[in-house]
């Protein structure tokens, strides 16, 4: 019994202490959530910001990429959002619909630093809803081709592919599955690759204002056919990135001649491959069905939460991180590509030959449909696509199934849009 009293007493003291403790240590503390590796790199950029703004103290919290989306939503549901965060721009529609984000349009209009016309247009547009900007692009992330220049040359190709038919010829020439050699690595649980191929088509991925899936369109079927054929012709192994294990060293050993991936891999390949192999690989913009093609407009933006009590301080940090010189340093630290054209015209980016393909690709990126359900739809799309790759579904069956799943997910959205006024939620 005595122990019980002691435990209860201790619990009461803890409860009393926590209720007394102020929510924020002091009024100038800015909490900033970062996702993945950006959190490590930014620690080197913050001292200068804190020198310039001695009254602001930034507290960083790093979220792992796999748990970030969930953690942000939970924070919103639990009313414990930080002052600001980075947010993947495919997640933007969701948080805008939730009303979690502070509109930044007025601040952009008067800013000396953030100039919308300096940003790549598609990237900027992923942050704008009904003409109001809710986030400032921080870095961009698009997918394109890493390729083994030496292996292409040995197979008789002097330049990377410019269109699908050329690409197909190269994949066929470079694939020898019985010798464990494949043209390309396309992990079957990553949706970005198929999405990029689909965005190169004239048909949009959803129809009727995001009310229904549009996967049965001719364009998407063409993209899916190209994707699935790559596996059926054994030009890519039918594996997920869990089994791919260490794609960098396998790329170095020539298991894959192409690797369809994002800019962070420039840094990875520089780090993981020996110096003697550094001239063997290069990057190339994505080939399209006929000529240079589009790719996904991914990346992260900086957003301020509506509930934040330090919006001015948060905006100062957004402006600081948006400066071209700071973005350039950020690129040096991590390889994350800046979203502003002026950041590309200076420093190491201008002189980096391996970044140039990204510069070119960024002028040709397309955003995914701006509906909150997109993340869920694209996941289902990839699950069905993986079934098609495994040979369980034909192209027609797969696209019909994708539309069926998308329509089910979008049911609530249709109901919301068809109501006389959609209460308080911007769609």
């Amino acid at each position: 019994m005595q122990t019980l009293w002691r435990v209860m007493g201790a619990a009461m003291i803890v409860a009393w202490l926590t209720s007394c403790a102020p929510q924020h240590a002091d009024s100038h503390t800015l909490t900033f959530w970062t996702i993945g590796r950006e959190g490590e790199a930014i620690t080197q950029l913050l001292p200068e910001f804190e020198r310039e703004n001695p009254d602001i103290h930034v507290v960083l919290q790093q979220l792992p990429l796999t748990a970030a989306h969930q953690k942000l939503l939970t924070a919103f549901a639990g009313d414990s959002t930080p002052d600001m965060t980075q947010i993947g721009n495919t997640w933007m529609p969701e948080f805008v619909a939730l009303g979690a984000l502070q509109p930044l349009q007025a601040r952009v209009a008067t800013s000396q630093v953030v100039r919308p016309d300096d940003y790549f247009a598609s990237i900027w547009s992923t942050n704008v809803y009904d003409g109001v900007a809710y986030g400032i692009p921080w870095y961009v992330d698009t997918r394109l081709l890493f390729y083994r220049r030496d292996m292409l040359k040995a197979a008789g190709f002097d330049a990377p592919p410019r269109d699908w038919s050329e690409w197909r010829r190269m994949l066929a020439a470079l694939s020898h599955p019985d010798h464990d050699r494949y043209g390309i690595l396309l992990p079957t649980n990553e949706y970005d690759q198929l999405t990029a191929l689909a965005l190169q088509q004239p048909d949009s991925l959803l129809r009727d204002g995001g009310r229904y899936g549009n996967f049965e369109s001719a364009g998407f079927k063409r993209a899916l056919t190209f994707y699935v054929d790559t596996f059926r012709m054994h030009e890519a192994p039918d594996i997920t990135n869990i089994e791919a294990g260490n794609p960098w060293s396998e790329f170095g050993r020539g298991v894959y001649s192409f690797y369809f991936s994002g800019p962070w891999n420039i840094g990875e390949f520089r780090k993981r491959l020996p110096a003697s192999e550094q001239d063997d690989w290069d990057t190339a913009p994505l080939p399209g069905p006929d000529g240079p093609g589009a790719s996904v407009a991914g990346g992260s933006s900086l957003v301020v939460f509506r509930k934040s009590e330090h919006k001015d301080a948060a905006w100062k940090l957004v402006e600081y991180l948006s400066r071209p010189q700071v973005q350039d340093r950020f690129y040096d630290l991590l390889g994350d590509m800046p979203p502003r054209r002026s950041s590309w015209s200076q420093g190491s980016l201008r002189d980096d030959p391996k970044a140039q393909a990204f510069r070119e690709q960024l002028e040709r990126v397309k955003p995914t449909p701006p509906v909150p359900e997109w993340e869920q739809i694209v996941n289902e799309m990839q699950l069905v696509a993986a079934q098609a790759v495994a040979g369980d579904l034909t192209i027609d069956q797969a696209t019909a199934e994708m539309d069926k799943r998308a329509d089910r997910i979008l049911e609530k959205r249709r109901w919301m849009l068809d109501r006389p006024q959609h209460a308080g939620v911007s769609l």
């Binding site: 619909a97 909150p372 609530k412």
Partner: protein
């Protein structure tokens, strides 16, 4: 104050705690399962619809739910007997008078239970790797072609079963070991004098004496294994081709990944009903056995 009031006074703290932390959330979750609570409703409660049993109806029409249920049942049907046999064998070995270094082996065999599933799952993922994994290396030694353990939809679940049995058998082993130690030695002595072989002793003394404990261990294991989640979550992420999506994994995805809390609660209640029926059947079966 009469006796009844006094009794209630003493019960009240426990009853309140149970009510607040158990009953209210369960009722809340049930109400939630009758609505389409999702992201939009999270933003504004006006976007909440009462759908009665619509979530349940929709789930019963979703192939993925049936697939997840099938994967879970497959897991339970294969892994529970396997797990019980392994733990019984381990307990018998540890109980054997011939065994040496008992405390060491007891600890070693129990170790997987207390290590975190995430840490050991990472290790097992390497063991199962098609190209570099130790499992295939050993199989190659006896002339078996490499198996794509985690990449082939047919092998992913067996791989998870192997992992889960390894991870969990120690817990049952300890309970069964306690049960074995509670069987009086006189019975064995009498049986030996009557000339019973080791197998006969096991068949006619150990098993019947252990039956109630085996039933309890069985029920614990079944209800534990129906809640299969961490293993596929860490090792395969539900893949390949959703072949390791369990009911609980589906619920987690619906609820915490996509915030369709209404539909996730419906899955939870369907799983509860299934588990309730299965354990009730097991209990009834056990009672009939003991009466017979």
């Amino acid at each position: 104050m009469n006796r009844q009031h006094a009794a209630w006074m003493f019960l009240a703290p426990a009853a309140i705690v149970l009510g607040v932390f158990f009953l209210v959330p369960v009722i809340g979750a049930f109400v939630l399962s009758l609505t389409d609570y999702d992201l939009y409703a999270l933003a504004d409660l006006h976007n909440l619809r009462f759908v009665a049993f619509g979530n349940y109806w929709a789930l019963l029409h979703r192939p993925l739910f049936w697939a997840a249920l099938w994967h879970t049942v497959y897991f339970v049907v294969v892994a529970v007997p396997l797990s019980m046999i392994v733990s019984l064998c381990a307990a018998l070995l540890l109980h054997s008078p011939l065994a040496r270094c008992k405390p060491f082996f007891r600890t070693a065999l129990f170790a997987p239970v207390v290590t975190t599933v995430v840490a050991v799952a990472v290790v097992w993922r390497y063991l199962f790797n098609t190209k570099y994994g130790l499992v295939n290396y050993v199989l190659a030694g006896v002339g078996i072609h490499p198996i794509d353990w985690l990449g082939d939809p047919h092998w992913a679940m067996p791989a998870i079963i192997l992992f889960a049995v390894w991870k969990n058998f120690g817990y049952n082993m300890i309970i069964l070991l306690a049960g074995l130690q509670a069987i009086p030695a006189d019975y064995y002595e009498a049986a030996r004098i009557d000339g019973a072989s080791a197998w006969q002793q096991f068949r006619h003394i150990t098993l019947p004496m252990l039956a109630p404990i085996l039933l309890m261990v069985g029920i614990l294991t079944v209800s534990g294994y129906f809640q299969l989640f961490a293993e596929p979550y860490v090792i395969t992420e539900g893949g390949p081709l959703e072949s390791t999506v369990s009911v609980l994994y589906l619920m987690y995805n619906e609820g915490f990944k996509w915030w369709n809390l209404g539909s996730a609660s419906a899955i939870a209640f369907l799983l509860f009903v299934i588990m309730f029926v299965v354990t009730a059947c097991m209990l009834r079966f056990g009672r009939q056995e003991s009466e017979a």
